[in-house]
Symmetry: C2
Subunit: 139 residues, 2 copies
DNA sequence: ATCGTTCATCGTAGATAGACGATAATACGG
DNA sequence: CCGTATTATCGTCTATCTACGATGAACGAT
């Protein structure tokens, strides 16, 4: 098969529900906002649904997604890019194709993040560990 | 008190989990995309969190939200408008103030919508009842 | 080496988002 | 009726989104 793994950087989303509890309120807001932006277009919702429901052995290459959507290939590619940047999906280069799948556990992570960000179980005084900066929404 | 109720139109979000099952896949995608857009900015996440965690008798007027965020009053007002349009919050005019709260059950609705839209339990052949139109993402 | 396939990126254009200060609208208190 | 307080809206500016066709880059096959 010779699938060259493309290293995936999660753009701040650990996709690990254990780690949500260590996020400050501000980090929660930013993380939730970033992931939500990924879902903020119907085409991207459909892409995530498509990928989330593929059995793991059934590959889903970019072309499959393009032909399932009423959009030009370049537009789909941009939506895929947004989904990568916001932490929903990852791609593996497989020859001339790119095989996409959702980040493992991302949906559960998102659901947990919604709960934690919107419900009250947040330590509002906890600060991000790196800096003591203010909320400037520097996304 | 003389609170004049401002009639709230939910912009397509019934905020009723019973009704999610009656949505077509396309409607699910649009509805989820619309609500997700509401959460796609950290300030709006914080507003929803703030409102979701207020005890029901404790009023939360616009000014409270403005002073809790590092943004100008006009910017906060715009975010509140987006949250209204995307179906997250509603406002009641109370004298010179406007008292905001989240739409009843909206968070549960959103969580259910994420599950239903992204998991496979969708009838992909169901069409919207009004028209037989194609997916043109006419948001 | 060259071709076709596949996908990302570029360039462009129009629409929307996001921020702000300034101004308008509304309600209440004198 | 006139000021104050509160919030929405307007106007402006910049940045990002969304779409498309065209082009480029990578790969397998001939």
């Amino acid at each position: 098969m010779a699938v060259k793994a493309e290293r995936f950087t999660c753009a701040g989303n650990p996709a690990n529900q254990e780690e949500i509890g260590r996020l400050s309120a501000e980090e929660c807001s930013k993380s939730l906002a970033r992931l939500s932006k990924g879902l903020a277009h119907p085409a991207r919702v459909e892409i995530v649904r498509m990928l989330e429901n593929k059995p793991p052995e059934e590959r889903c290459v970019c072309g499959d997604i393009v032909s399932a959507l009423p959009l030009a290939q370049s537009s789909v590619s941009q939506h895929l890019k947004v989904l990568k940047e916001t932490g929903w999906i990852q791609g593996e280069i497989d020859g001339p194709r790119v095989c996409y799948c959702t980040v493992e556990g991302i949906m559960g992570y998102y659901l947990a993040l919604v709960e934690r960000s919107l419900r009250g179980d947040l330590d509002m005084n906890r600060k991000p560990e790196t800096t003591g900066k203010e909320d400037d929404y520097g996304l």
